[in-house]
């Protein structure tokens, strides 16, 4: 297939249980002809068995046995579709009680968050919460889908009130790019096709918006951050002295000849070569996976970072982090966790809780209590060795960490460096 604007766009959906998330995804897949006939047949059969008149679009996204039996979505699932303009990855997150943890997981890699609002109910607490998390995770674009317009007679006034309400509280959010679209996922109004019922809405339907959204600037292309994943020493004929550093650029651009500094050692050198597999290139940029060599032999290992000499991250052993607790076991002060950050791993301790956020009211709550699953708050971390950190706001990759329980090996927390 020839794709003319052939970028990859990752989006996530947020909404409460009955806002029609699964129906919207089903509609997007169905109307963009991204579902195979055998899948349609299967869903048609199941819909008939349930006694439904038309097909239940939500069934395209519920996969596991327990989900079908209990009618719930257990965990993040990923869906794919391609149009002549773009390839899309949907992180399909459940809207249940565990929404925070799941939303954080789905949102961590997303370019766009779709926030669903039921037109009958307008902006509710849940909407504020979702928008807040999207903003906290620094998702570059938000599309507010005012859904179920068919149930309010496609009334322009209802839509305008919701837009006004949302804009009022979103003025404090980090995300600058917010789009509003009135739609009915159930009937297909303004999802893939323009609605005949809402001539008062002049802009494009959802799919066109997703296809044309400018995402090239979503990644930071200013600050060179090259965390080293592994060192390549082939010791093969012709490559006896080759010593390459393999990794994926977190941000920025690197060119042959650039002066660089290796952290944490602080040694400097120049870029001698850049390779993508066998192919030698003159420059590379985020998010490319490359292997680079330097003009000088300096000691660099996994977890070290190559940066531009005049633009360096902070080397720090103590820093503040916005944390979302993911695990059933609550946080324990003074317990040692493994901290994973940009291919680096150290030991970490929670030194101090600055505040916990009341996710219902979004108010700060001074507390010394432990953090439970799905809770969000600010903490101070102390690590065994200095990490090379940026703030999450400037860099989603070098500004993020996870905590791993040393006993269970489970990922217990996601953190964004403040």
């Amino acid at each position: 297939m020839n794709i003319d604007n052939n970028q990859l766009l990752r989006f996530t959906t947020a909404g409460s249980v009955d806002d029609g998330k699964s129906t919207l995804i089903g509609r997007l897949l169905y109307d963009s002809k991204s579902i195979f006939q055998d899948q349609i047949n299967a869903v048609e059969n199941s819909s008939k068995q349930k006694g439904l008149e038309s097909i239940d679009l939500a069934m395209f996204t519920d996969g596991l046995r327990d989900e079908r039996e209990q009618g719930i979505t257990i965990d993040v699932a990923y869906r794919y579709f391609t149009t002549p303009k773009r390839k899309f990855i949907i992180a399909d997150t459940p809207g249940h009680i565990q929404y925070t943890r799941n939303m954080v997981t789905g949102a961590s890699t997303a370019n766009v968050a779709l926030i669903l609002i039921d037109a009958r109910h307008g902006v509710i607490e849940q909407t504020r919460r979702h928008a807040f998390i999207a903003s906290l995770l620094n998702i570059p674009h938000i599309i507010v889908c005012v859904n179920k317009m068919d149930l309010v007679d496609y009334d322009e006034q209802v839509y305008n009130t919701i837009v006004k309400d949302f804009e009022e509280f979103s003025s404090k959010m980090l995300t600058r790019d917010i789009t509003f679209i009135p739609m009915s996922a159930l009937n297909g109004d303004n999802v893939v096709h323009r609605s005949e019922h809402m001539n008062w809405y002049p802009a494009a339907p959802l799919l066109y918006t997703l296809e044309t959204l400018h995402i090239s600037s979503d990644l930071n292309k200013l600050d060179l951050r090259f965390p080293v994943q592994t060192v390549l020493r082939p010791q093969l004929q012709g490559f006896e002295d080759y010593r390459g550093y393999a990794g994926r650029l977190s941000s920025g651009v690197v060119r042959v000849g650039d002066e660089i500094t290796a952290l944490p050692s602080g040694f400097t050198s120049k870029i001698a070569s850049i390779n993508v597999g066998e192919q030698e290139v003159k420059e590379a940029f985020a998010p490319m996976s490359v292997a680079i060599t330097l003009q000088d032999d300096i000691d660099i290992a996994r977890g070290d970072m190559i940066v531009r000499s005049n633009n360096q991250p902070e080397l720090s052993q103590e820093f503040d982090v916005m944390v979302c607790w993911l695990n059933e076991k609550p946080s324990q002060p003074r317990k040692k966790y493994k901290i994973m950050h940009a291919n680096n791993e150290q030991v970490c301790m929670i030194r101090q809780k600055v505040y916990k956020l009341d996710i219902e009211t979004l108010k700060r709550e001074e507390t010394t209590e432990e953090f439970h699953m799905n809770e969000i708050g600010r903490m101070t971390f102390k690590t065994s060795k200095a990490l090379m950190i940026d703030t999450y706001r400037e860099n989603r990759i070098t500004g993020s960490v996870i905590l791993v329980d040393e006993q269970t090996h489970e990922t217990v927390a996601a953190g964004m460096i403040v």
Binding site: Q7, A246, R248
Partner: protein, 301 residues
Amino acid sequence: MNKFYLDYLEELESEAMYVIREVWAQFEKPVILFSGGKDSIVVTHLAQKAFYPARIPFKLMHVDTGHNFPETIAFRDAIAKEKNVEMIVASVQESIDTGRVQEEKGKNATRNALQTTTLLDAIEKHGIDCAIGGARRDEEKARAKERFFSHRDDFGQWDPKNQRPELWNILNGHHYQGEHFRAFPISNWTEMDVWNYINREQIKIPNLYLAHERKVVWMNDAWIPYSEYLSHVDTKDVVTKKIRFRTLGDITITGGMESDADTIDKIILEVAALKQTERGNRSDDKRSETAMEDRKKQGYF
């Protein structure tokens, strides 16, 4: 003005190389599960790219059911030679001979389910702590839930309710002794992406994927290749057709489709117009609505 963005294939490639390097960095004894199918061929190609100019630092492992296409075995051996890597062969026949598993009986008997025991035995025998596979989330609804790093307990079991959340690009491979991981670098690829990538990178694939004349039998709504293992088949039902295979599994269960697509370009055009999912012709998935999930919970690839 330079373009400072990757197209979707370049981005998927970069992501997969990153995942493969993380496996190498975080595990002691990883292998690539190599079936001879297009997905494991692509994964092997990506591994080569990820470590160039060094050799692929993994061994490959083939779970050999004994019911193979002869072309698959020839291709497997050629790859090991060309890439200069060791190929571990784990044999289902051996598992049957030693009484570890029992062969299914009846008309639709296959060795598909038996692979799980052989795979888990081989993982234990060789001390493998991570098996890299070419599974894609678009293949099947149970696979849509997979992580890049997918944890297996010491019985080799997958628990879909107890998966580690994966955030940003941080992959957590920590585990107890005896547990292992499955890693899926091309999770985010679709069938179409794989073909476009094979085309762009000029990757060699077995001719089975290209349309060719072959003796086949109509069984379970598909053209099943005729082979010595189809003992129940009446030879007068065997016909010669121009077919190709969309996926490759055991020769006893892989359904071919009638096709004239004898080049990668033609395959891409054909796949774009297809109305059936890729695994629609795999009888192992048709046994029940959650056949794949049930097998995966037990440790199936």
